[in-house]
């Protein structure tokens, strides 16, 4: 059983296998994500009840919270993939980690922008130098730094390893974001969803909310898979099978 799992896992570390196998995966994940997000947004924005204190403005959580979750989850994934790549010298882990960066950065940017839009009616200000906001901004800057480091290196292989080290250093920011609302007395409200407690939300709000989170996860996975395929084509362009694949595209099949 374990042996079979290890063999299956090792197959995924081959760029060619990944390229071929991820095509149906990204297709189905992408469609599932589109449907789930569409359903969640229609339900959340139009049919979920009005919140007692914040009125209709709370509805932005259906975008704000999933994107904030994803921006942190993707950063954690980049760090884990970087470690895998550094320890086991698996180049595919680096490819995926690299292509996670733009996805994670977009999520962090989306979370900050929707947060600002939400902040205006509820806090009366677009921006506040609050611990949660500041640490999210630092996360966005870390994403930019990772991308800049990749682009600055002449050899992409050294860019991979350098970015992995930087990503590992930046991990210290994740617990700061997570606990910022508990350690400091901030304007940002504390977490609503917790693993240890039942959520204090009515199901008619909670279900679209959870759907939106799942949808964002699936969409990010599909997006990363698609970007990674392009990265593989670019990085492995000297190998035979990539040439064949590109010729197939050129012939328009």
């Amino acid at each position: 059983m374990w042996q079979a799992f290890v063999r299956w896992f090792h197959k995924w570390s081959s760029p060619k296998w990944f390229y071929t196998m991820s095509q149906p995966w990204s297709f189905w994940l992408g469609w599932a994500a589109t449907l789930i997000i569409a359903a969640a947004l229609v339900w959340g924005l139009m049919f979920a009840p009005v919140e007692r204190l914040q009125g209709n403005s709370y509805r932005i959580i259906f975008i704000h919270v999933p994107s904030a979750f994803l921006s942190q989850a993707i950063y954690a994934a980049i760090a884990v993939l970087g470690l895998v790549g550094l320890v086991w010298k698996m180049k595919l882990a680096f490819f995926v980690a690299k292509q996670c960066i733009p996805v994670g950065a977009s999520m962090a940017l989306l979370a900050l922008v929707t947060g600002a839009i939400w902040g205006k009616p509820t806090w009366g200000t677009w921006w506040e130098w609050d611990a949660r906001l500041t640490s999210m901004l630092v996360l966005l800057l870390l994403y930019f730094g990772l991308w800049a480091l990749h682009n600055a290196m002449e050899r992409p292989e050294s860019g991979d390893r350098a970015a992995a080290i930087l990503a590992l250093v930046g991990v210290v920011n994740l617990p700061i974001i997570k606990f910022s609302v508990e350690w400091w007395n901030t304007l940002h409200q504390p977490a609503t969803l917790k693993f240890t407690e039942a959520p204090p939300m009515h199901p008619s709000m909670l279900i679209p909310f959870l759907m939106a989170i799942v949808g964002f996860y699936l969409a990010s996975m599909a997006w990363v898979l698609m970007r990674t395929r392009l990265e593989i084509l670019q990085r492995e362009r000297k190998s035979r099978w990539v040439e064949d694949e590109l010729n197939r595209f050129a012939e328009g099949q």
Binding site: V138, G145, A148, E154, S158, I165, V169
Partner: protein, 225 residues
């Protein structure tokens, strides 16, 4: 050679190199002076307002000056090939990195700390806050040098690493500056400041333990190409 004499000779070499590049060492200090002078000119010459801002201004100035000097940390050794020899030497490379960072702190962080009282008078910071300001700056610049050494190692192989180094390392400096200024501001306001100082010291010791490992890993990438 055994460990300690070797380390001592590395230390002596670093100090000697630093002494011979005196003008490079003066630049961060002058930069610190100019940045601090810009604030009264650019924001307000009102001494009471400046006094409120003083801990932050001094910290930002010291942080930028430190950042400016970091680019030189490994560059000359990388260019003349001695970095390669150092990584191949019998000495554990982490101890060597620590030695270099320690010298970097002695020639930038410590002078910045010593300069801070002069500039704090110009900004009207109450004299009672001075000892704590100097303590936080001494601890903080050490952790800045340690964290910054990772960035310096990551960008050492690049031609124009300076600006990239700033982009990579600045986000990691944020917690240091928050607790550094936090301690001084709390003391000026008459609030308990020990927790801020403890956090700053914890960050310094944490970076002391972890950053040399990452710096060595980054240097190996740069040397490997």
């Amino acid at each position: 050679m055994t460990f300690l004499p070797l380390l001592r000779s590395v230390f002596r070499r670093e100090m000697q190199l630093a002494y011979r590049r005196r003008s490079d060492l003066a630049n961060p200090l002058l930069f610190f002076l100019i940045v601090v002078v810009l604030f009264p000119l650019g924001v307000t010459p009102d001494m009471t307002k400046l006094a409120d801002m003083a801990p932050g201004v001094l910290w930002v100035g010291a942080l930028l000056a430190n950042l400016l000097s970091l680019d030189l940390l490994f560059r000359s050794d990388y260019e003349d090939g001695s970095l390669e020899q150092m990584l191949l030497a019998s000495l554990p490379p982490t101890s060597l990195v620590l030695c270099k960072v320690w010298v970097h702190w002695l020639v930038t962080g410590l002078p910045l700390t010593i300069m801070a009282p002069l500039l704090s008078i110009m900004l009207g910071l109450p004299g009672s806050a001075l000892p704590l300001l100097m303590l936080t700056l001494a601890l903080g610049t050490l952790s800045l040098s340690l964290i910054g050494s990772i960035g310096a190692a990551l960008t050492v192989g690049l031609q124009k690493g300076g600006l990239l180094l700033t982009l990579l390392i600045m986000p990691l400096f944020v917690p240091v500056i928050i607790f550094g200024t936090g301690a001084v501001q709390a003391q000026v306001a008459g609030l308990p400041w020990q927790a801020h100082l403890a956090m700053l010291a914890a960050m310094t010791t944490g970076s002391l333990a972890l950053s040399p490992l990452l710096t060595v890993a980054a240097l190996r990438i740069a040397v490997g190409d």
